[in-house]
Amino acid sequence: MSDNLNIGGQEITSRLFLGTGKFSSNRLIPKSVEASGAQVVTVALRRVDPDFEEENIAAYVPRGCILMPNTSGARNAAETVRIARLARAAGFGDWVKIEVITENRYLLPDNYETLKATEILAGEGFVVLPYMSPDLIAAKQMVNAGAAAVMPLGSPIGSNRGLKTRELIRILIEEIPLPIIVDAGIGRPSEAAEAMEMGAAAVLVNTAIATAGDPVTMAEAFGLAVKAGRMAFLAGTDEAQEYARASSPLTGFLRD
């Protein structure tokens, strides 16, 4: 049976999404994609430079990947919308990962501005994946605004601190009818596996791979960990059973 993830009508085979910032060379991007098996790759539009092919980060994303531009650097909904439209005009398709950061100490997302941008861009036909603080109420509003998935942070971007928001993410997994993709903060493959075991639909990793001593091997390790975590979830860990089981093997007979 296929266990593909479906976002915005696209079948996605790999549940590891890859970020492209922070690498010591863009040449490591295709190698990391290949080693990890990642299919969705995010690129900051601010770094894309079609005028300079050799240094153009987007040119290093292998064909066949879904290139998801992100709005890194946007400080409010208006800037976000502008950047998303620029990305679409540049030929990047309809996917967009929304990042709205209004404080530069921890780079925590601004859920309110993110929501406003999600609503506008979903209305324009974008497949919108908002990066957000894992707040249930805000996530429900993202659903209503037309988000295609929800991307809560595990801990602050680049912090490699792991799933510090575990309980809040667990609630999103239980309550939100969209794919929950844990984005930011995952520092180790074991933490990616943990998110997948909990029932996350996917994880997005950048810093932990890009700044590793050997990024390509680390990318492979993350690819394996995400697969393992997903398998464990499907196999039914105690935790997953407690929260996610749809059928009722013990009392189901009472419905007859």
Partner: protein, 366 residues
């Protein structure tokens, strides 16, 4: 509220006694802290902390890679005009120095822009002397509009403006501003800036805040090292950055630690700032402001800049020229002598050799 109020709290503070009372244990403890207080930062700028540079460097490097990645952002300066009404005693362009004054015409700006754009850079820093007659804001705005066609990020390093003027330039496509207080010590400031509008200490000190209020995306502050005691100047620069980051959390705040270079007029800096001091400043700042940018210009020589890549630097200039129209006319007088003559391609090669990626473009909004 102004940063001046923060600064004033330290008037009368006995820095020497604070430094004298620090122990090795104090320094070691601070190096492992997640969030440093202002006084922790000051402690790392102390003579005592000089014994822990390697420990500080290890942490600083990890923090820099974690937050910025293995990358260095590149940019280059363009000097629009050297007309100046100020008398900064350490600057070639000061009003009383005799040199050929020049201002680029818009076609000349276009010409220089073309040459710079050919290097692949998308970020440019625009500089002028202070002359509202020769280089008014309207002229700088026109230049920005010309540059905008080839560059996706334009920063200014010009005389202090009013808030509405910053807003005007932002509309024209400017997204960043650099302004050095030169020296935070108010007495030294008065002595070194004897005449001209720049002699107004407060107006300059509050300029970054006015730019923040106008909506500037990135702000870079600094003290010109050599004009005051470096430990306190570094301290106040850090406090200034911290103040701006607290008050304007969505602004990307960075610092520069420029050291004074030989100028026309032969000004001799009163305060020595050695390589070791510069490095200590960068490391202390990195631990204090883990996400704060550190810009290193070609004032520093190539061998040192190569080392600073791994000591907290995040942004470097390349292919610099500090004369007006200097890319097409080698006769023009430079604002100061640069120490690293490498062009963009050579800088990129050095960075790759060190396992760092040169980033030519890091912003786009149009």
């Amino acid at each position: 509220m102004s940063f001046y109020e923060e600064l004033s709290k330290y008037y009368g503070f006995n820095f020497n006694s604070f430094f004298d009372n620090l122990t090795d244990e104090d320094i070691k403890k601070i190096i492992t802290k997640n969030r440093l207080s202002a006084l922790d930062y000051l402690a790392l700028l102390s003579p005592r902390a000089e014994f822990f540079l390697e420990e500080m460097a290890g942490r600083a490097q990890r923090l820099t890679v974690q937050h910025f990645g293995r990358v260095i952002f590149l940019y280059t300066p363009i000097y629009l005009a050297n007309y100046c009404v100020n008398q900064c005693v350490y600057c070639s362009f000061r009003a009383r120095n005799k040199l050929e004054r020049k201002k680029l015409t818009l076609p000349e700006v276009e010409h220089e822009a073309e040459a710079i754009a050919a290097t692949g850079l998308k970020h440019i820093l625009v500089l002028t002397g202070e002359s509202r007659r020769h280089s008014p804001v309207s002229y700088i705005r026109q230049c920005a509009e010309v540059l905008k066609k080839r560059f996706t990020s334009i920063s200014i390093e010009i005389y202090a403006l009013e808030e509405a003027e910053y807003a005007d330039l932002i509309l024209a496509g400017v997204d960043g501003m650099t302004i050095y207080q030169e020296v935070y010590n108010e007495e030294n400031y008065a002595r070194l800036h004897p005449a001209g509008p720049k002699s107004n200490y407060r107006f300059r000190l509050d300029a970054p805040e006015r730019a923040c209020r106008a909506g500037m995306r990135t702000i870079n502050v600094g003290a010109l090292l050599g004009l005051g005691r470096w430990r306190t100047e570094a301290f106040f620069t850090g406090l200034h950055a911290d103040y701006l980051q607290n008050r304007y959390p969505d602004v990307e705040v960075s610092i520069s630690p420029p050291r004074i270079r030989p100028h026309l007029g032969g000004f001799q800096p009163e305060f020595e700032v050695g390589d070791k001091n510069l490095v200590q400043y960068m490391l202390a700042y990195r631990l204090f402001m883990p996400r704060g940018g550190i810009t290193i210009s070609t004032r520093e020589r190539a061998e040192l800049r190569n080392r600073l890549v791994k000591l907290g630097a995040t942004k470097m200039s390349a292919g610099s020229c500090t004369a007006v129209g200097g890319r097409s006319n080698s006769e023009s007088t430079a604002q100061f002598e640069i120490s690293d003559e490498r062009d963009v391609a050579e800088m990129a090669k050095m960075l790759y050799a060190q396992g760092y990626q040169p980033v030519y473009k890091d912003w786009q909004m149009a």
